[in-house]
């Protein structure tokens, strides 16, 4: 499906955490509308982005994903009044912290997408996937120095 050619053949694995009430619906609508985007993410449905524990992000990286994408309702549209507003502060601090520790900004993404925004969903999905793809595969052969995302992976 993908038309990208850089890092030829590399299909990133992305963990996507979507709010049930908006982005998940947006993804659904994108499907109903036959909008195309690469299928390189796996969705975990959350009741609200307020449910998003920062530990989920680290856990996903430990399990070996190349990128994480969290998406919920637009500010003001939360089904639970303000879950996403609290989440926004948490994500702000978390993203700052992880990037401060060395995480490549292209690996962690947040968006607000409503259940009516099928096209925005499509565009954002392409964006996220492209951003993660552009960083290339996570493996020791690919880079000289060990990167955070490489070493967050649990090796057994």
């Amino acid at each position: 499906m993908s038309e990208c050619t850089e890092h030829s053949g590399f299909r990133p694995r992305i963990a996507a955490f979507f709010c049930n009430w908006c982005t998940y619906g947006g993804a659904d609508l994108a499907g109903v509308n036959r909008l195309k985007y690469p299928a390189d993410f796996r969705v975990v449905r959350l009741p609200c982005t307020g449910r998003m524990n920062p530990e989920f992000v680290l856990h996903a990286f430990r399990q070996g994903v190349d990128g994480v994408w969290v998406s919920g309702c637009h500010p003001g549209d939360c089904h639970y009044i303000a879950g996403n507003m609290y989440a926004r502060r948490r994500f702000t601090i978390l993203k700052e912290l992880l990037e401060y520790a060395g995480l490549d900004p292209g690996r962690l993404h947040f968006s607000w997408i409503s259940s009516a925004e099928a096209e925005k969903f499509q565009r954002t999905a392409v964006d996220v996937i492209e951003a993660v793809r552009a960083l290339g595969p996570v493996n020791a052969a690919n880079v000289a120095a060990k990167t955070m995302v490489m070493e967050l992976r649990k090796v057994i």
Partner: protein, 327 residues
């Protein structure tokens, strides 16, 4: 220091005598050089063992949850940072205001024993056996040597950049207020890796935490950490591996720091507790810097304050939210 110690003893003795508290939590003489130990004085006589020096590097607020659990009214000897943690615990409803009597101590900063050791060259087999405080000087003695060092040069990193040396909440005061800050500019030294190119940050992170033995002393010394079951101990699901793998160690430290967001007073107890001398504040200081600049908040400054992670504003920054590319 001596005057402070005497005043602390006097206040503690009175509070215990008058039955205003069941226990006074402060410091007593430690067993090792350059160490004072937390001490629970339960009688007016025991109050005589309380002390104050440049080596009170723990955080007495840590013990308040324990005292509250035992139904005790506690007096707590607290300098600026610890008093802010007392406020934090009251705000977080772990401790009732009327169960705590704060004995405030304007703080002159605490000394980092590792810095002293470095200065007397432990590498050459020289061991500090005793330290006496004479004004602004430390007289360090060991087998075959005596050295006078300037206290100011040996303060813990967090004490250099302390912004609130005077207690923010005090029912009693053990001295007149002192200069408000340690003199250092917190925002220039917090978050040291921000100055590094992104590609070098992880290497620095690794190096910083490579000696971690996962004893969790940083967590257990921290007055913010009172959860009944810590995320590292969760078994269903088990979030974290228990090994020394980089990922398990890194995840622990990242999450621990995150849990301190908007709550940390930069008391430095974590760093002082670490048996491996790990600079764990490199993470917490970054978060607190962000909290200050984004939400104009400093932890524990007022009983009416709303902690920043438990609230929001409609206009909070969301520059990091993806807009979904060109149409």
């Amino acid at each position: 220091m001596k005057a402070r110690a005497e005043k602390i003893r006097e206040i503690a003795k009175r509070l215990l005598q008058e039955g205003k508290v069941d226990v006074v939590i402060g410091y007593a003489r430690g067993a090792s050089p350059m160490r004072e130990q937390p001490f629970f004085a339960r009688t007016p006589e025991e109050a005589g063992q309380l002390t104050w020096s440049s080596f009170c590097v723990g955080n007495t607020a840590k013990f308040l949850v324990q005292a509250a659990g035992a139904g005790e009214r506690a007096g707590v000897v607290a300098q600026g940072c610890a008093s802010r943690n007392v406020v934090g615990l009251i705000v977080e409803k772990q401790v009732a205001r009327d169960k705590v009597v704060v004995i405030g101590v304007p703080c002159l900063g605490m000394v980092d024993s590792r810095k002293v050791e470095a200065r007397i060259a432990r590498s050459e087999g020289r061991r500090v056996e005793s330290v006496a405080e004479e004004g602004e000087e430390l007289v360090v003695r060991g087998r075959g040597f005596e050295k006078r060092l300037k206290r100011k040069e040996l303060l813990r990193d967090n004490c250099f950049t302390c912004q609130h040396r005077n207690p923010v909440l005090a029912d009693e005061m053990a001295a007149e207020p002192t200069a408000a800050t340690g003199g250092g500019d917190i925002d220039t030294v917090a978050a040291p890796w921000e100055k590094l190119p992104a590609a070098d940050r992880w290497a620095s992170f690794r190096e910083t935490f490579t000696d971690c033995i996962r004893c969790y002393a940083c967590r257990d010394a921290c007055p913010l950490c009172y959860c009944k079951t810590c995320f590292v101990d969760d078994a269903k699901p088990q979030w974290l591996g228990k090994t020394q793998d980089v990922t398990d160690v890194a995840s622990f430290h990242l999450m621990r720091a995150f849990h301190c967001a908007g709550r940390c007073t930069d008391c430095g107890a974590c760093e002082s507790a670490c048996p491996q001398g790990i600079k764990v504040r490199r993470l917490t200081s970054k978060i607190e810097k962000d909290i200050r600049s984004l939400y104009s908040y400093e932890a524990g400054m007022g009983l009416d304050a709303i902690p920043p992670m438990t609230t929001f504003r409609a206009d909070d920054s969301d520059d990091f939210i993806k807009q979904g590319g060109a149409q």
